[in-house]
Every structure is written in C-alpha cells, then in structure tokens.
C-alpha cells in the first residue's frame, strides 16, 4: 500500500520524457536542457560575484580589532 502510494508521489510533476527541443546556432546543436544548464552557470557566476556577502559589519569590527580571533 505504502509502496504503491509512494510510487504515485514519486512520479514527476513535469514530464520531460519527450524528445528534446534542439537549439541551433551555426554548428552548435544543443538540447534546450543543456543550454539552460550552461546558461544558468554563467548567470549564477555573475550573480554570486555581484551580490554582497552578509556579515560586513562583523568583518569591519574584526578589522578594527574588536572581537578578532
């Protein structure tokens, strides 16, 4: 019973089991999923460098000598 129920729960919300949409550009022919992964990596890299990292006040205090280890 639990097995069957879990089986239902484990089915995908989005069914990706259909032939891929292929992105054509010159000699580049890549499935959309791979293009998304590579594009996302570049976007994430840009974002993580641009975003400020929390704890600036703590670091400033450490530089001033307060509470440094």
């Amino acid at each position: 019973m639990i097995h069957a129920g879990l089986g239902v729960v484990m089915g995908a919300v989005f069914d990706l089991n259909h032939p891929a949409h292929v992105v054509h550009w010159h000699f580049i022919k890549l499935p959309l999923a791979n293009v998304i992964v590579i594009g996302l990596m570049l976007v994430v890299f840009a974002i993580v460098i641009a975003l400020p990292f929390p704890g600036a006040a703590r670091r400033a205090a450490a530089r001033r000598g307060a509470g440094a280890s």
Partner: protein, 225 residues
C-alpha cells in the same frame, strides 16, 4: 603516552601530521576578513553535492542495480542521484571559475589547484561509468558510442564500457574512492595553506589591516602560511 622508541613510525606520523595541521588549523573557527563573497561557498557546495551523491548512490547500491527500474521509490532515489550529479558539476565548475579568476594557485598553492583539477578530471569518468551502468537504452547508446573513442587510444583494451560488471565496479567503488581521496587532499591543502589572499593591487597598498607597519617588501615567491 607510552615510552615509544625514538624511531617509532607512529610517533613520527603523528608529529608530522600535527605539525602540518594542528587542530586549530584543521578546523579553524575564523577566516581572514577578505573571505567575503558568495563565490566562496561553491567549494563547500561541491563537497555537499558529493555527500548527497554518495548517500543516494549508497541507497541505490544497497538494493542492487535493477531496483530503481521497477519500484517508484527506487526511481526517486535514482532521480536524486542524477540531479545531485548535475548539481555537483554545476557548483564545482562555478567554484573552478572563481578560483581561476582569483589566481588561487598563488602563495605556494599550486598543489591545491592541481588536486582540484585532477578531481574534476576523475569526476568525468566517474559520471560516465554511472551512465553506462544504468542498464537502460541510454546506457546501451552511450557505451556503444564511447567505446570508439576509448578503443582508438587503446584504453578500450582494459576499460570496456560495454562490460556492465566492470563499469559498475568502477562506478560504485574504485572511482568514488579516488574522488574522495582527491577531495580530501584538496581540502587538507587548503586548510594547510589557508584561503588565498587577494591579489595585491600596488605595493604601497600592501598595508595589512590591523598591523602596525606596512607589510615588508614583496619577495619573489610567497611563503606557505
């Protein structure tokens, strides 16, 4: 402690280990103030992904290679395993990009770069052996295609991607051990040398915050910390 003889290997190994990595260096509770960017979390994210890969892979290994094909729960753990592998390469490559643009091999840290690079290169066949061990159409196709590349350089003579038994052994045991050993060496080297300091903009700006005087004149090669 026992009165160990002077030529005790145990004592020598322990003393060398503690000298290289005393506990406060092995597990420090502070980091330099320049560690202040989200790019720094991608190293630990890579390790985290590896933990999830190994955990989900262990569950798949517990039930055997056919289990995930005929149970929903098995398929679910296979899905976790697959997506954690995608995440692993994703975060590892972003980590690699960050470390490259930071020239993180500076200051005697070439071995950190080398172990990291080799980890990536070993992770690729680790994933490939997984893909050819799936026992489905994807495995059939990838193995019959990959064999040509490997045969062309003679590797196919002793690494047969169409031999499921061999590929499964490599995937579940041999290559994960190699990856874990390399990652451990990589992380221990980072702990030993510390996180690479920022590239110095100009010599006159090499005034280290919190010190009384400007830093000494630059030497040819940075010393290990």
């Amino acid at each position: 402690m026992s009165g160990a003889p002077e030529n005790s290997w145990t004592v020598k190994v322990r003393e060398k280990a503690v000298e290289a990595l005393p506990p406060e260096k092995l597990l420090p509770d502070g980091q330099p103030t320049y560690v202040a960017s989200w790019i720094y979390v991608f190293g630990v994210a890579s390790i985290a992904s590896l933990v999830v890969i190994i955990t989900s892979g262990s569950i798949l290994a517990l039930k055997g290679p056919a289990w995930w094909h005929y149970t929903g729960i098995g398929h679910f753990f296979n899905s976790i395993h697959m997506w954690s592998v995608e995440l692993f390469f994703f975060v590892m490559v972003v980590h690699l990009w960050g470390k490259y643009w930071m020239s993180a091999w500076r200051g005697g840290r070439t071995r950190v770069w080398i172990t990291g690079a080799i980890t990536f290169l070993v992770a690729v066949p680790t994933a490939l052996t997984g893909y050819v061990s799936q026992q489905n159409f994807d495995a059939q196709w990838i193995s019959t295609q990959a064999k040509d590349g490997l045969n062309s350089v003679g590797v196919g003579a002793f690494f047969n991607v169409t031999n499921f038994g061999q590929m499964y052994s490599f995937h579940v045991l041999l290559l994960p051990i190699a990856v874990v050993v390399l990652v451990s060496a990589h992380v221990l080297l980072v702990r030993r040398h510390g996180v690479v300091p920022p590239i110095e903009l100009h010599a006159r700006l090499a005034i280290v915050p919190g010190s009384e005087a400007p830093a000494p004149a630059a030497t040819a090669v940075g010393a290990d910390s």
